[in-house]
Symmetry: C2
Subunit: 138 residues, 2 copies
């Protein structure tokens, strides 16, 4: 409730998140796991909600709705509702969303292309002795 008047020190939360040049919020949205997958999927053309859910696999309805809402709100995807029974809703990329498709495809491709190398590196790292006995000379 409104504890008015108390000299709450207001711990100077000076919006430290926007300190850097690049848009953090957008970066966070664009880098989101489901966003990358869904945008890549929609790159092949429009798809129904259930189709997307099935294609992505492992995504809950809640998360998919949230992801698609974000994409729609950001002007990256359009939502089309058909007044038909049973209800049919399709999603597709906007021109703006298609400009994002290329970068995200590159990221997805990189992951598929280098997952083996990364796994190997992880195995090597995991096999390391945990005692920090080696210091770089020099």
């Amino acid at each position: 409730m409104s504890a008015s008047g108390s000299a709450a020190p207001a711990p100077l939360a000076v919006d430290a998140f926007s300190s850097g040049c690049p848009p953090r919020a957008l970066l966070n949205t664009v880098g989101d796991k489901w966003v990358i997958l869904v945008v890549n999927l929609l790159g092949d053309g429009g798809a129904r909600f259930s189709e997307i859910q099935r294609a992505v696999g492992g995504v809950s309805r809640k998360m998919l709705v949230q992801t698609l809402r974000t994409l729609e709100r950001d002007g990256l995807a359009v939502r089309t509702v058909y007044a038909d029974a049973p209800p049919r809703v399709t999603y597709s990329l906007t021109p703006l969303g298609q400009t994002l498709l290329r970068p995200l495809q590159a990221v997805r491709t990189w992951c598929e292309d280098h997952v083996t190398e990364v796994s190997s590196a992880q195995a090597v790292y995991d096999a390391r002795p945990e005692y920090t006995g080696s210091a770089a000379t020099g």
Copy 2:
């Protein structure tokens, strides 16, 4: 776990391209907000821990350590410790990390390039009436 061929029910492994094929964990790592920022930063050359922390801005020591550990473990960055006082540690991209630089730069560039359009779209969406009164006549 190597029960091959057994009549395990295995409710049809969702054959979609996203469920099992693409590396979700790697996608999640690569898409991480701090990872994108740090990799982009290291693309300009090696940097000290404190330099990275200052350059990124708003990242806690804990998160930065965690991010750099992940990059090191995945073979994307190398950590160099100088046995000097005061301690000096530098991080730089590996050749593998440099191959990731291009895609992540593209993502970062896209964000900077389209943040205005996205903000506009958000404003438009935010101004919408919340009652869904428009159904597509399809």
